[in-house]
Symmetry: C2
Subunit: 319 residues, 2 copies
C-alpha cells in the first residue's frame, strides 16, 4: 500500500465501529507522524469496577487488525467463559465482556485507578499492540453521554446495550461538559500550523461526534480553522448500516438523509463525502454551498477502508 | 452420604488447597447450621485492580465441586484467553488469572470497592454457587502475609507465585495484625455455647493457619476453649504434599515431622490427626500429652474428603 507522503497533518474525529474502520484506513495510507485520531469517550462507562471505553477499543482493535468483522464489534476469535461464570455468580450480564476484550478493560482500569491519564493509558496500550499512529481520547476528563427517552434519562450504555435502543430518544446531553478540556493530543492537533484537514468519520453524529464537539473549545477551534473539514456520511440510501442512527433521526424529527447530516454539522464542515448510490441528493447539498464527493462508503475489508481514506484525503486536497 | 446429625457446632480453620478439601469433606457430613469454615485471608492481594482471595476461592471451589483436582488449584475446565491478551498488552503475567476464575475476582472486587464487607461478598458468592454452609473470612480487615527472605521482605504472593518460593524464608509476619478483628462469623462461632470442636485443617501452619491465629483475640479464644481442638497434620512421611511447607520447615530450623507441627501449635491443640503411614511417630506425640489419631489423610476424591472428615469428627468426639 502506498503511503501518502506529504501534505500536512490530518486530524480524524471518530466514534466506534464505522469511524474505527475509516480511522484504520487513514492509518493505512498516512504515516504515523501525520495523523491524529481523536476518539469519542462519551460512551465510556464504569461497569463491575472496570472502565470500559467502547469507541477507543473499536478504533484500537480495527487498527491492530483485531476487530471482529462478522460480529461487528469487539475482538476477533472471542470467547465468553468469564461471562458465563459471572452469570452463575448472579452479577449483571447485560453488557457482554469477552475474555480477550477483558484484558483491555483490566489493563486500562487499574492504570487509571493508579492515577494514569486516559491519554497515557491509551498511548501505552496502542504502543503495546504495535500501533504507531496517535490514538487519543477526546478528553482525559470523564464525559458521559446521557439519553433522555420516553423511559426517562438513561446512561448511554443502558440505552444502547441494556435497552437495545428501544426507548424513544428525546434529547442527548454530555455530562461532564462544559468543563472537560481536550486531551493534550487533540489540543495539539487542533493547534498545529501544518494541520491540512479534519475528517469527521462516518460515526453517529449525535452519539459519536457531538460529544467530541462538546469538549471545551473544540467546536470553536474547528469553526475557526481555514482547512478542509470533511465529514463522511454514515448513511447509505438514507439508512445507517448499524446502530440506532436511523431510528434516532426519525425520533428527533429529522429525515433520514444526507441533508439532515449536513444540516446537523452546518458550518463545522466544508465537505461531505456521500455514498455513490446517493448521487441524486448531491445536487441539493452542493446548492447549499457544501463541497460534495461521491465515494464507495461501505467498508467490508481493509482494502475498502484504505480506498475510502484515499478518496477522503483527495477530496480534502491532502496529498 | 449420611450426615452427622447431632452434637454441636464445628468451627474449621482453613487455608487453601489441602484445607479446602477437608472443609469440603466436613460440609459433606455436617449440616449447614452446624459448621462454620473460617478461611485465611493473609494470602489475599491486590493485583491489576482486583482483590484476589486465593484461600477463600480454593474453599469455595472445593465446596462447589468446581476445583481442578488435576492442576491442584483454581477452577476446573479453565481457559486462559484473557491472560494471553493481557500479556500482549505488556501487563504483569506472573499471576495466572483464568477466564472462569476471573468472574470471582471481578464480582468480589467491585462489590468490595462499593463498600460491601468481605463477609457480605463471600456470603453472596457462596450462596449464588449453592453452598449452604457458612464460609467466612477470618477478618473483614485486610491482613497481608509478608515473608522475610534472603531477598528481603516480600508480599506473600510475590514470594509464593512470582518467586516460586525460591528465596530462603527467615520470618513471616501478618501486616494488619494486631488491629484486625475476627469477622462476625468467626467471632460468633468462637462464642457459641454449643461449640463442640475446632478443626485446624491440613494447611500450612505458618502461612495458612497462623494468620487466622494472629487475628485479634482468636488465639486467646482458642486457648480458653474447653472443647477438642484438633489439627490435621499437613505432612505425610514428613513431607508436605504441595506448597513450600517442607522447604520452610527446614529453613526455619524445624525438622520435617509431626513433632514440629505439634510443637508449633502447642497448647492450642488437644488432638492431632496424622497419616496412618506415620504411626511410628505417634508414641512420642502421645507421650507429650497430645491425643493422636491415625487416619488416611491423603484426599484424592470427595469420598476421601468425607472419610477424613468423619475420622476427624469421631476423634473429636463429635457425633
Amino acid at each position: 500500500m502506498n503511503a501518502i507522503s506529504s501534505g500536512g497533518h490530518v486530524l480524524a474525529l471518530s466514534g466506534g465501529v464505522g469511524g474505527a474502520k475509516l480511522a484504520a484506513g487513514l492509518a493505512a495510507v498516512i504515516p504515523p507522524e501525520r495523523l491524529t485520531i481523536a476518539v469519542n469517550t462519551g460512551d465510556d462507562f464504569e461497569h463491575l469496577g472496570l472502565t470500559v471505553c467502547p469507541d477507543i477499543d473499536s478504533v484500537v482493535y480495527a487498527m491492530a487488525g483485531l476487530n471482529d468483522r462478522q460480529r461487528g464489534w469487539g475482538v476477533v476469535d472471542e470467547s465468553w467463559r468469564m461471562m458465563e461464570q459471572l452469570r452463575s455468580l448472579g452479577e449483571a450480564d447485560w453488557f457482554n465482556l469477552g475474555d480477550r476484550d477483558l484484558a483491555m478493560h483490566i489493563a486500562r482500569s487499574w492504570r487509571l485507578r493508579a492515577g494514569e491519564s486516559l491519554s497515557a493509558v491509551t498511548a501505552r496500550l496502542t504502543n503495546q499492540l504495535g500501533i504507531a499512529h496517535r490514538v487519543v481520547p477526546m478528553s482525559d476528563a470523564p464525559v458521559r453521554t446521557q439519553v433522555e427517552t420516553d423511559a426517562g434519562w438513561l446512561d448511554f450504555q443502558h440505552y444502547f446495550v441494556r435497552e437495545q435502543c428501544r426507548p424513544v430518544v428525546k434529547a442527548i446531553c454530555f455530562s461532564g461538559t462544559p468543563g472537560a478540556g481536550p486531551s493534550a493530543g487533540l489540543a495539539e492537533a487542533l493547534a498545529r500550523p501544518d494541520l491540512a484537514a479534519v475528517v469527521l468519520c462516518p460515526s453517529n453524529p449525535f452519539l459519536s461526534v457531538d460529544p467530541i464537539l462538546a469538549v471545551d473549545g473544540v467546536r470553536q477551534a474547528l469553526l475557526s480553522l481555514k482547512v478542509p473539514r470533511i465529514a463522511v456520511s454514515p448513511l447509505i440510501g438514507g439508512k445507517a448500516l448499524k446502530g440506532p442512527l436511523s431510528k434516532m433521526l426519525d425520533e428527533l424529527g429529522f429525515e433520514g438523509s444526507n441533508t439532515a447530516i449536513a444540516a446537523h454539522y452546518g458550518a463545522l464542515i466544508s465537505h461531505l463525502v456521500i455514498d455513490r448510490t446517493d448521487e441524486d441528493g448531491a445536487l441539493a447539498l452542493r446548492a447549499s454551498g457544501l463541497q460534495v464527493t461521491l465515494a464507495e462508503t461501505l467498508m467490508k475489508s481493509s482494502e475498502d477502508q484504505a480506498r475510502l481514506a484515499r478518496d477522503v484525503l483527495t477530496a480534502a486536497g491532502v496529498e
